[in-house]
Amino acid sequence: MADYSIWVLEYAECNKNPVAGVVYGAHDKGTCRLPYAYVLIKGNGFNAMVDVGYNHTEYGETIANEFGVGNWHSAREVLSHADMTPEDITHIFITHAHYDHMGGIAAFPNATFYIQERELSKWVWAMSLDQRFKVLQAALDPGDILRAVDLARSGRLVCVQGDRADVLPGIDLHAAYDTHTWGSQYVHIRNDGMQDSDDGWILAGDLVYRFENLEGWDPQTPSYVPIGFYVGSTTNNVLVLDEMSKLVGGEHRRIVPIHEDRLHQRFPSRETVDGLRMTEITLADGEASKVA
């Protein structure tokens, strides 16, 4: 019995991302395609998402021209491949406050957003530092915080403090403080609804970029390799990999990295538009495949 269907939906891409930017110490590994994606969760009468992509209107041109991030497609277009519209989305879990995960919040007028309060409060702290500390302000868009004010004014922003079980039935939020960001969180779906689930799926945000973060470079001697960019500690980034691994009984395929270009090698997938992919992680009972 599975309660939720899960799809990873690519909405943009960077074709020459340094591997070292996403896998710690991989300075000799060249570049890779880095898809930008969010996750659609459907089941139990809810339509939820994990993250919402970046704000193409405000800085799409800049990052396309100067950072090689492009091929952006709107949430309306991307979600249509799952027979969904932005208006259908009821719950959105923001894993962290970087522009490519939080920038698109204005496109979802009916959703309630969940973010760790620490992610916001430490962001405020970072903004109090002078320009010598600008590395701590990287990838943060003040405009996203203004849009969050708008959400809060309309009662659609929930600031979570630490772990929260059953934010939706069978879906837990786990805080991962001082890892990729100060208040990152990841989503654990217990798809059989059991407390000690045998059918768990983890949507990792940027706590995992590529399979190597969980499995290392050598299949004979698997090991955790931290992500390539973080403001927390190396220790915390490795410990959270282990924490997630234990939650899914060591089955690393159940930890879903949305920036992983090779996701389609492990799950059914199809191209949607302009080379972007839609990957079907699992299907709820009675749900028809969107990639067949």
Binding site: P18, G21, G68, K134, P142, L146, C159
Partner: protein, 186 residues
């Protein structure tokens, strides 16, 4: 009929402040290679002011989101004083600066941003202490305007960024950012 600072006649739509469709990098490069070193001097001087105003806006936005989401804030929050300081010197310098031809459009957005931030700062103590919708709105609206003015300013001339993408993980870093390259080539 609309005239640019250098008296070039431009269509009114030039000043609509909407994001222009991507054309090419030629206009920016031509601007700096345009034989007027005063524009370059203006950019170098204005970058610090822009950054301070951007920082002030970001700090106020952060405080407002905490206030409106039920976080701990009060009228004496230390961040508010930091925002005032960031705004003070930058606004004074902006108000007392005269822009050369070719930088006037940018400067007008800087002036508008500084003024709107003045209004937002004045409303912040009420927003942080009362936290009701009306008080938050009094700060939110001028803050929103200020942020939009900064965004418009960032599009007028190269060298002004709202978000620091350069430090992030998810980007192609092989090519140096165009605006910085232009500046460094001067």
């Amino acid at each position: 009929m609309t005239y640019r600072d250098d008296a070039t006649v431009l269509p009114a739509s030039t000043f609509a402040c909407e994001p222009e469709p991507p054309e090419s990098s030629i206009p920016d490069e031509r601007l700096f290679a345009g034989h007027d070193p005063r524009v370059f001097d203006y950019v170098v001087a204005a970058q610090g002011r822009f950054e301070s105003l951007r920082q002030c806006a970001a700090q106020l936005a952060g405080l407002l989101v905490l206030a409106s989401a039920g976080g701990r804030t009060d009228a004496e929050h230390p961040m508010l004083e930091l925002a005032r300081n960031a705004h003070g010197a930058a606004a004074d310098a902006t108000f007392s600066t005269s822009a050369p031809a070719g930088a006037g459009h940018h400067h007008r957005h800087m002036l508008a941003a500084a003024r709107s931030l003045t209004a937002a700062l004045a409303a912040m103590p009420g927003a942080l202490s009362k936290r009701d919708a009306g008080s938050v709105d009094e700060a939110f609206h001028p803050l929103n305007t200020a942020f939009r003015e900064l965004q418009n300013a960032s599009r007028c001339l190269p060298g002004f960024e709202i978000i620091d993408f350069e430090q992030g993980c998810c980007a192609e870093h092989a090519g140096l950012r165009r605006s910085k390259r232009i500046l460094m080539e001067q």
